[in-house]
Symmetry: C2
Subunit: 586 residues, 2 copies
């Protein structure tokens, strides 16, 4: 990344299109280009779109104080792709020929850029590996089938060749679900669904849409929106993740309180396995034995290739409002979220940040606006008079959609609960800002990584009574881990995705890079946080999936017998281990 | 059943307890009694509780007209248990000894009554088989473990002995999930969870309860209610089905609109398999690969024995109201339910009967009360003036719970939708009656069976746009089937369980017994209805499960590859086919 590059588009430039850099990518492609666009091979988002801290005056001092990294130092020079030690493709000509027959001549690629783009997701580990030139194994070939028949032919060709198949959606995985095993001796085929990106059908009476799995979030919402519908699924990766990826990883979007997790809103699936297609019906509920649909959701490629799904869609809401609230403590905020979840109020999203994340939000405010000005005004005096510790303020958002009466009634119920927990209503400003900026965090991660700070995220879910002790345990274990590796570290958290019996806690952590082997330190910190999740009764991930990154905690989470069952299922459906081997259960 | 028996308690006697007949059952038991109570070996409910039509003056002429059966003819004499050709137990002494060690001496039973009670569920097929003395195979022994350790020991003993294990909850299955295969050569053990019936823990902060799987519905609600909580799960079988049975069959209760299906409200499970226990955590949502919890829900004993679960519980509602509505047609009612599901209104239950079922409801009214008087009054004139066909009236119920404001607001939203579809509000009377009588239907089934009419139910679910064509197709196919077997038949339907994208349709059918081999006619009629479900795009069952009864439609429903996957899962977890073999996938 080069701050001085004239073609760099800031994140919030008006009219910024994620699709403007195709020519550049095609040019680098080497073998003609697939017509499918990808993120930067070395980081988040499209080439030419990046974060910049210079109009956010509070961020530099904040990061310097908390992580010991000075954002004003120039970023490291952009990586040079040509210096990457990309291993040669090992795809035998016979397999390539079969794939060309299956997907069409122009849709089978073995160029170095294509293979590198399809090697990793976007976890910090993935980025650090790329920066270290750690590429022991890439896919040998990338294939872009254009329809389900082509997918079937590709899957059969891979099966017949004794090769390995790894499905690829948007490439936004942060759980290590995409890379081939380092010691994989068989040819590895990356199957990119990017050409299969259409809404095939909207059953308006049933409020269901049949959609191809390779569609990216914005494209999907554009196609649905043109007909007056929305899926309402907005994970943080939304701009660069696909429907198929969401389903394969059991994704959850910020608006899950209303629209449901992907597991709720996916009503039917088509999944290609060697020699067959599993196809379920778009029924709202069923008693047909263990749900095959639920078995395929979260399967991360281990059970085949998701080609399309029936998903729930909703009419674009009449009204939408995200209100901001402040709480005097995270405890108070959690308690309020819990009460809201059981109240008569219907909400679209519920979110509360701890004091650290609130401070970070204040620090990312622009010169001219942002949430921080809210506490620069007379409010400060009011809160102090109430006895609030201003450093402990916790920012919260609650979203409402629906008819005017319902929105008003729901806001009134929520307001009462907020007040009962000592909170106050801040108004619409911060919510609007949140709505605009919610997809920007990974750009910041890349930006500070270029300047010597390692940052990543870990998410969990737990019952309401487990959340607070879990939160404290994670904080404590992270601090110990920072001390163990001798770094200045920072950890912050928010609750999002409320359910009847619990919620998701989402942690972001960062620390100074202190050695030339940052993965050693990363493993200590990330490992401590994940271990704290399962030790405290949470799950290893609420919506980031298992992959290889979290696989070591699976037995502690779902019990050794539960993990064994998954292994038995995978082995039964895929006895030769040809479908994304190593993910979930190695 | 003997109408003249002085000890017969009518269904609606005040203070009727389902637990008063233990002494009688123990006396018949022969081998000491298990301490666990069961339904009549030959029909629904406890011995001594039965339906009677004589205070419902409209029912006899109704049934005579629709099915050609005269309820005033005396019922056939009660079956004599001693005349049943009960095969001897084949349990080897070594296995019995191991089971006694596992579960305790007094909890292993081989008496004829115990074995017959555990042979069948309560489908019409089951009852007809018993009446025909068709008992080719019973379990060889019934064992009642008292805790999970005992279950583990039993499961291991069965596995070691090369025997077969069939878990037994309340015995209310109507999908044939309970009987051993007729040609089963291995010893068959029925594992009755009836002693494991306690609420172990209520996590009030998380609104979750940990409950043993063998608890019956009323007992569970009593234990929860004593602490101010409810699970809100009320399937039609509620009085005689267990938590473990609900989970094993993917049950759904009448109040699923608010409380969710059992698959939603079950947050964690413990399941005993040979040599291991699968134990998941009570988290609200997770991305841990294919959900092992979802895999166990609906597994009908094929994946082991469910011993306990964490389930969502709710505070007893402040207010509860079920309002009645009339629609001029089923089409109008379905359209209204669809709009309610997408509206801002929160409902507890939504239900609308077709004209046939509405007429049946009117016919079951008591002399003094019931819904039928509603159309005997001035209302009739009003509706006629509006142009309604009084024979086409469709009765609907919508339930509301919550704070007074929310209930009022939700009722207002629903009222507007009802009016938009030409419906009218009838008031609280019918809803209260529905709430009181909702568990009585199976008693009526037994009563009319004794008098020569065969009745049964089939349920499906489909998307909103599929429901009406499916409904018409089922009606047509049922009428053809009645004609084919030369009987006077009746079929009626209601919608219940609304979801965003569709709903459940629940059919009840009845016809005159015309031969000494009623199962031949039954197969034609039941088969035609089930085939119509899958042909029209519905699922083979919304909440009655697959068992053996619906297994032949599984491949058409979830695709041949989906069925194959289930078979592969079962074979992988249970390679010798010792856990309820034959259910779901044979």
């Amino acid at each position: 990344m080069d701050d001085a590059a004239p073609q760099t588009t800031p994140l919030d430039a008006p009219g910024r299109s994620p699709r403007t850099d195709q020519a550049a990518q095609d040019a680098r492609e080497g073998d003609g280009g697939s017509g499918v666009q990808h993120m930067k091979w070395w980081g988040w988002g499209r080439e030419g779109v990046s974060f910049d801290h210079r109009d956010k005056p509070k961020l530099q001092p904040f990061v310097l104080e908390k992580v010991g990294v000075d954002l004003d130092t120039p970023g490291r020079p952009a990586l040079d792709f040509d210096e990457l030690p990309v291993p040669d493709s090992r795809a035998p000509e016979e397999l390539l020929a079969a794939l060309r027959t299956a997907a069409g001549d122009g849709h089978v690629h073995t160029g170095a850029m294509e293979r590198v783009v399809h090697t990793y997701g976007k976890s910090l580990r993935d980025l650090l590996r790329l920066r270290a030139g750690d590429l022991p194994r890439t896919p040998d070939v990338v294939v872009y089938p254009g329809d389900e028949d082509a997918v079937r032919a590709v899957v059969d060709a891979v099966a017949d060749a004794g090769a390995v198949l790894i499905p690829f959606g948007g490439g936004s995985s942060i759980s290590g679900s995409l890379h081939p095993r380092a010691d994989e001796q068989r040819p590895v085929v990356s199957l990119d669904l990017g050409r299969m990106n259409r809404v095939l059908e909207v059953d308006e009476h049933s409020r269901l849409a049949r959609v191809q799995a390779g569609v990216l979030g914005p494209d999907l919402e554009d196609q649905l929106g043109a007909r007056g519908w929305t899926m309402g699924h907005v994970p943080d990766s939304f701009t660069h993740s696909t429907l198929g990826g969401w389903i394969a990883t059991r994704s959850s979007g910020a608006q899950s309180d209303k629209y449901g997790d992907i597991a709720d809103l996916t009503r039917a699936l088509r999944v290609v396995q060697p020699g067959r297609v599993v196809a379920t019906r778009p029924v709202p509920s069923e008693a047909t034995g263990p749900s095959v649909r639920d078995m395929l959701i979260g399967s991360e490629g281990r059970l085949g290739v998701i080609t399309e799904a029936w998903v729930q869609v909703h009419r674009l809401p009449e009204n939408r409002q995200i209100l901001g609230y402040f709480y005097p403590s995270f405890e108070a905020g959690l308690a309020a979220m819990r009460d809201i979840a059981a109240s008569d109020a219907s909400t679209v999203l519920t979110r509360v940040s701890d004091a650290n994340e609130t401070a970070f939000s204040f620090a990312t405010g622009k010169r001219s606006r942002g949430v921080s000005h809210l506490v620069s005004s007379g409010l400060k005096t009011v809160l102090k008079r109430r006895g609030w510790d201003l450093d402990a303020i916790c920012l919260s958002f609650v979203g409402f959609e629906g008819g005017a009466d319902a929105v008003k009634a729901n806001q009134a119920v929520v307001k009462k609960i907020v007040k009962a927990h000592g909170g106050i209503v801040v108004g619409k400003g911060p919510g609007t800002l949140y709505d605009q900026k919610k997809f920007d965090t990974p750009y910041i991660r890349d930006y500070i990584l270029d300047r010597g700070a390692l940052a990543d995220v870990s998410d969990t879910a737990a019952s309401w009574s487990t959340l607070l002790p879990l939160y404290r345990h994670v904080r404590e274990q992270a601090d110990r881990a920072f001390a163990r590796v001798g770094v200045q570290g920072w950890i912050m958290c928010h609750l999002s995705h409320s359910y009847h019996g619990g919620a998701c806690l989402y942690f972001t952590f960062a620390f100074q890079q202190v050695s030339e082997t940052p993965l050693v330190e990363y493993d200590v910190v990330k490992g401590a946080i994940q271990q704290a999740f399962v030790d405290a009764g949470g799950t290893l991930s609420h919506h980031h999936a298992v992959g290889t990154e979290h696989a070591q905690w699976l037995a502690e989470d779902i019990s050794p017998a539960g993990r064994a069952m998954l292994g038995e299922l995978f082995a039964a459906v895929d006895p030769q281990g040809q479908m994304n081997p190593g993910a979930i259960v190695d």
